[in-house]
């Protein structure tokens, strides 16, 4: 236990950095993912094609490959980052956006047909139908899966620790190396801080799910 109390400032720094990475990448991914989902159902064939290819490729790319590309391959190709956080945020948000796009698209498909028909019959164009009628309803139904994607994002941010970003996992690795005799305690401390984010989010997801299920 002493190891954890001694290193509490490090844990706290790592926790804040993990939270920062998750929140920033989460917001970027939500925006990007919704745009991708909109492109996927749009009348313009090129947008549909681009969105489909993007989602297919990114969803099937291991996250470590995305990180490897952003943090090791890009700099050697001449794209230099001031901080490795930026590489981490690029990898995390590009990866997560593909999953969010799929979730939002399934939400769009779950909205009753009559909604879109009614909107079109009163003269709305595609942009209006999507932004005023379909997406507000679709986003509501996909809130639980979106929260699950965000939980995965928090856990995925741990990969950043292996690519030169000092967040919870990165500090954990450092502390484990520094305190070779108490590795288990140190890493259980790291686990505790992850659970501090993921378990409340999980409870939130199941609560929302129950609420939505009753409302329907």
């Amino acid at each position: 236990m002493d190891v954890i109390i001694e290193n509490l400032p490090l844990y706290w720094n790592g926790f804040l950095r993990t939270l920062f990475l998750s929140v920033v990448s989460g917001i970027i991914a939500l925006v990007l993912g919704t745009l991708l989902a909109a492109a996927r159902v749009s009348p313009v064939a090129a947008l549909r094609g681009f969105s489909t290819v993007y989602v297919e490729v990114l969803r099937n790319t291991p996250l470590t490959i995305a990180f490897f590309f952003a943090a090791i391959v890009l700099p050697r190709l001449g794209v230099k980052f001031e901080q490795f956080e930026i590489a981490a945020i690029i990898a995390l948000s590009a990866y997560t956006a593909a999953f969010i796009a799929e979730a939002v698209r399934s939400g769009v498909n779950s909205v009753a047909l009559g909604q879109a028909e009614a909107a079109r019959s009163i003269g709305m164009n595609f942009g209006q139908v999507l932004s005023l009628i379909i997406l507000p309803q679709a986003l509501r139904t996909v809130i639980p899966p979106l929260i699950n994607i965000l939980i995965a994002l928090v856990k995925n941010s741990s990969v950043a620790g292996a690519f030169f970003v000092l967040e919870l996992f990165g500090y954990g690795r450092q502390m484990a190396n520094a305190n070779g005799d108490q590795v288990m305690t140190v890493l259980l401390g790291v686990a505790f801080f992850y659970l501090l984010i993921t378990i409340p989010l999980g409870i939130l997801a199941s609560t929302v799910e129950r609420k939505v299920a009753i409302a329907r």
Binding site: R40, V41, P43, V44, A45, A46, L47, F50, E56, V57, R59, N60, T61, P62, L63, T64, I65, F68, F69, I72, V73, R76, L77, G78, V108, N109, L113, A116, E117, R120, N125, F126, V129, L130, I134, I151, K155, N156, S158, V159, G161, A162, F169, G172, R173, A176, V183, M184, L187, V190, A191, Y194, L195, T198, I199, G202, R216
Partner: protein, 294 residues
Amino acid sequence: MTSVLYDVPGPKARRISLIGSVIGTVVIVGLLAWIAMTLAQQGIFEGRRWAIFTRGDVWMLLGNGLGATLSAAAVAAVIAFPLGLMLCLLRISLVAWIRIPTRVVLEFLRGMPVVLMMLFVLLGFGTSQFVAVVTGLVLYNLAIFAEILRAGIQSLPKGQREAGLTIGLTSFQSRMFIELPQAIRRMMPSLVAQLVVLLKDTSLGYIVAYGELLRAVQVMADFLGNAFLFPIFFVAAAIYIAINICVSRIAVWIERRGSKKAAGGVAPAMIRTGLEGAGNDPVAKNIVPGPDKK
């Protein structure tokens, strides 16, 4: 559904859409061309950089990496599935002191980053990298498998279990012979989709220095020089993505086949839409005779 969102395009809209498509394509092609130009300036497309792929040992190293990736994934999947099955049964046990601790354990495993579990096993127990990677993958995926199967069992109509108990099966027998087989079949697409996740997660082995595909790339790049990093990385990423897309396709195929078979039966999605229709559709309400109209 998608075509419901917009009118069938007339000549004008078709023209606009065509122009939009052309502009979009030009922008994307332009972007790719710009990337290609940037890469070309770095000398990426020089023949000598790609000539390494004519060497057998490069392919052998890549093959070793791929073999390590696939074997870790296969071993982990084979161990994780039966364990997940067992924990699923414990999780829905009728006895509270079995059910609740199992739930706590599953929540704990689901809330942890996989790479942290790998590191924990590696440093905490001083195992080999292979064991660490497999154990990390097993611990995480058994929790997910258990949750998927639980969702499958709970989506079954109550009558299945009741019928099993009525004909004299014990609770355990009903679970094993009546409910689980149906749950596994119903959840097949999710289970295969989870296999893709498992396969992807083997790449986390890179972080604990397990000699999988990505690690092989790194080793070769360090050995042959930075000039070869991009070509090797490119090929390795392509291999990874191609395998994952194949497995994903299998999941989609199983899903389609399953939904076709269940068309006459009780696919979960159909139950839901059926209820929604009865509640909201005035015509359906009229068909169902109310008690007062008799």
